[in-house]
């Protein structure tokens, strides 16, 4: 449980001197973006994650579901070490990004590679342009035309460009809630992250704005790995390739979304997705 089983990874073509098993290993390696091994997490004396092991595949959408308080946000925030901004937190275990220990990488570089979008949209009190350019500026990028180019590209990737291109210098607060959230996605995309973490990005949005963001994620996944926490089971079913079910700080089941929703292995998962609790 937790690891991808052999049948679920794309199997490479075996060459003359390679066994099928080699190809499987290779394929599963190259298709793997983040590997979490035996992760335990504590807020002060209180443990909230228990021995989580999970492999997040590259350029796929992975959804994390589970009842409130089960540790989804905590898990997500560990992936780019946002938990370190909270005093008294402790994460034990292994988190590998492309095989590299994230706790050994410079945290600023890590957060550039692993971007994050929050539940409540949180644009800076700056212009739309400045919001998207922020990550570039703090990374010492000074070339104005290059910045403008990336800002445009990021806004296009976030499907926001057409709506804001005529007033880039207006306040970000002049946008609607859904637009603000897409702005936050554009801001995260501007530094070209390899992984995008989203913590219930649609929970404050209406169905139309939610649909836009879901479409956007399906577009983005060709170029970046996406991990999304959601309370909305239909959303997970609609967008996610893989789904993990958390309960009381434990990862109960992780598998292809189809399997989780149609044929879950664990009774708890079934109870949850059929709405029997949570």
């Amino acid at each position: 449980m937790g690891n991808l089983t052999e049948s679920e990874v794309i199997i490479g073509v075996p060459g003359p001197d390679r066994t099928i098993q080699d190809s499987v290993n290779e394929a599963s390696k190259s298709a793997l973006k983040i590997a979490v091994g035996h992760l335990n997490f504590h807020y002060g004396p209180r443990q909230v994650l228990f021995d989580i092991s999970l492999e997040i595949p590259d350029r796929k959408i992975t959804a994390l579901i589970g009842p409130s308080g089960c540790g989804k946000s905590t898990f997500l925030r560990t992936l780019n070490r946002m938990h370190e901004t909270v005093n008294g937190t402790r994460a034990e275990g292994e988190v590998l990004l492309d095989g590299q220990d994230i706790f050994a990488i410079d945290v600023v570089r890590l957060r550039r590679r692993v971007g994050m979008v929050f539940q409540k949209s949180n644009p800076f009190p700056k212009s739309i342009f400045e919001n998207v350019a922020y990550g570039l500026k703090i990374n010492r990028m000074a070339n104005r035309s290059a910045i403008a180019e990336i800002v445009e590209k990021s806004l296009r990737r976030a499907a926001l460009w057409d709506e804001v291109k005529d007033h880039l210098h207006k306040s970000a607060y002049s946008l609607s809630g859904g637009q603000q959230q897409r702005l936050c996605i554009a801001r995260a995309l501007a530094v070209d992250p390899e992984v995008l973490l989203l913590d219930e990005p649609c929970s404050a949005l209406d169905p139309v704005a939610t649909a836009k963001i879901e479409d956007l994620l399906l577009d983005l996944v060709s170029s970046c790995t996406i991990v999304i926490v959601t309370h909305n089971m239909q959303q997970a079913a609609r967008v996610a390739d893989y789904t993990g079910f958390f309960l009381l700080g434990k990862l109960i089941e992780f598998n292809k979304t189809d399997v989780i929703f149609k044929n879950p292995a664990q009774k708890e998962t079934e109870d949850y997705i059929t709405g029997r609790f949570g």
């Binding site: 946002m82 009190p125 703090i138 936050c184 801001r187």
Partner: protein
């Protein structure tokens, strides 16, 4: 009477009192304004005249022979000491506020903040006395000679150290009084910024310092301007503390930062006694004119603040 009317009445009482005070001051000072003319602002000569001489009539006003009133040195002393205080207090206040809001563990934070607020509540005469007893000997004997030796090549930093009373000392005592004001206000504004702003910056790879400097400070810029203006008002009008450390210069402009000065507010206090001896009353009226000028400067500073905040507000509406 309903609540709105009641508050409207209170507000108009405040406005009326303000206008009455200024009008009264202007009316009382009017003979002095007529006598002194524009030279009041550009001459360096405050002279009460011969007290036992026979009053003479100049421009239709009765004054003592030899009396002349010009307060350029007071205007200079007031503006320069306030400028020094602001130049030091704004960066220090910003640094202290950032430190209190972001840099210390929460338990220490509330204690330190409490002390800062206490500091803001200390009566100014206490600062003055402390400056008189502790700061001045130290400055006069140690810091000023040291500064002259190493920084003397900078204009206005060279010269003789004097006794420790003077422009820089006044500026430093004023600094101590207004730093807590700026720090406390700014810290409150910083702390009340939503945590989600910080998270947004940190998640983009911003360091703690970058988060403060590029996200939090711009968000509280208006508060910084506002609190600096309040602090300016306090420094311009400060009386006792400056009186005790300024050296009470008369009729001279400082030509370096160590020399004695006087400020308008402290001069009014220190001269009131002698001015009362003037049988023509013109000396007291001229002091009232000093007060009037001080009032006008303060009103101008506040006006400037309005303009700045308005401009900043428009920019904020457009950009931020």
């Amino acid at each position: 009477m309903n609540f709105r009317r009641f508050t409207a009445l209170l507000a108009s009482v405040v406005a009326i009192v303000l206008v009455v005070i200024v009008v009264f001051l202007a009316a009382y000072a009017w003979p002095a304004v007529r006598l002194n003319g524009f030279h009041f602002l550009i001459d360096n000569s405050w002279n009460l005249g011969r007290q036992y001489g026979t009053p003479i009539t100049v421009h239709g006003q009765e004054i003592l022979p030899g009396a002349h009133y010009g307060i350029l040195f007071l205007i200079a002393g007031t503006l320069l000491s306030t400028a020094i205080a602001l130049a030091i207090a704004v960066p220090v206040g910003v640094g202290a506020a950032l430190f209190l809001a972001e840099g210390v563990p929460p338990i220490m934070r509330s204690w330190l903040s409490f002390f800062v607020e206490l500091l803001a509540a200390i009566p100014s005469v206490v600062f003055g006395l402390w400056g008189y007893v502790v700061v001045i000997p130290f400055l006069g004997h140690h810091l000023f000679p040291f500064m002259i030796k190493w920084l003397g090549f900078i204009p206005f930093f060279g010269g003789t150290p004097g006794s420790g009373y003077g422009l820089l000392t006044s500026g430093l005592v004023l600094t101590l009084m207004i730093v807590p004001l700026i720090t406390a206000t700014l810290r409150d504004a910083l702390v009340s910024q939503p945590a989600s702003l910080r998270e947004a910056a940190v998640a983009l790879g911003a360091s703690r310092f970058e988060t403060m400097w590029t996200v939090l400070m711009p968000a509280v810029r208006r508060v910084l301007i506002g609190s600096s203006i309040l602090a300016t008002g306090r420094a311009l009008g400060e009386t006792m503390a400056v009186l005790m450390v300024s050296g009470n210069a008369l009729n001279i402009l400082p030509n370096n930062i160590y020399q004695p000065i006087s400020t308008m507010a402290s001069f009014i206090v220190s001269q009131l006694d002698s001015a009362m001896q003037d049988p023509t009353g013109m000396a007291v009226r001229s002091l009232a004119e000093v007060a009037l000028v001080l009032c006008l400067i303060s009103i101008m500073v506040n006006g400037l603040a309005r303009v700045l905040l308005y401009y900043e507000g428009r920019q904020a509406a457009r950009i931020a």
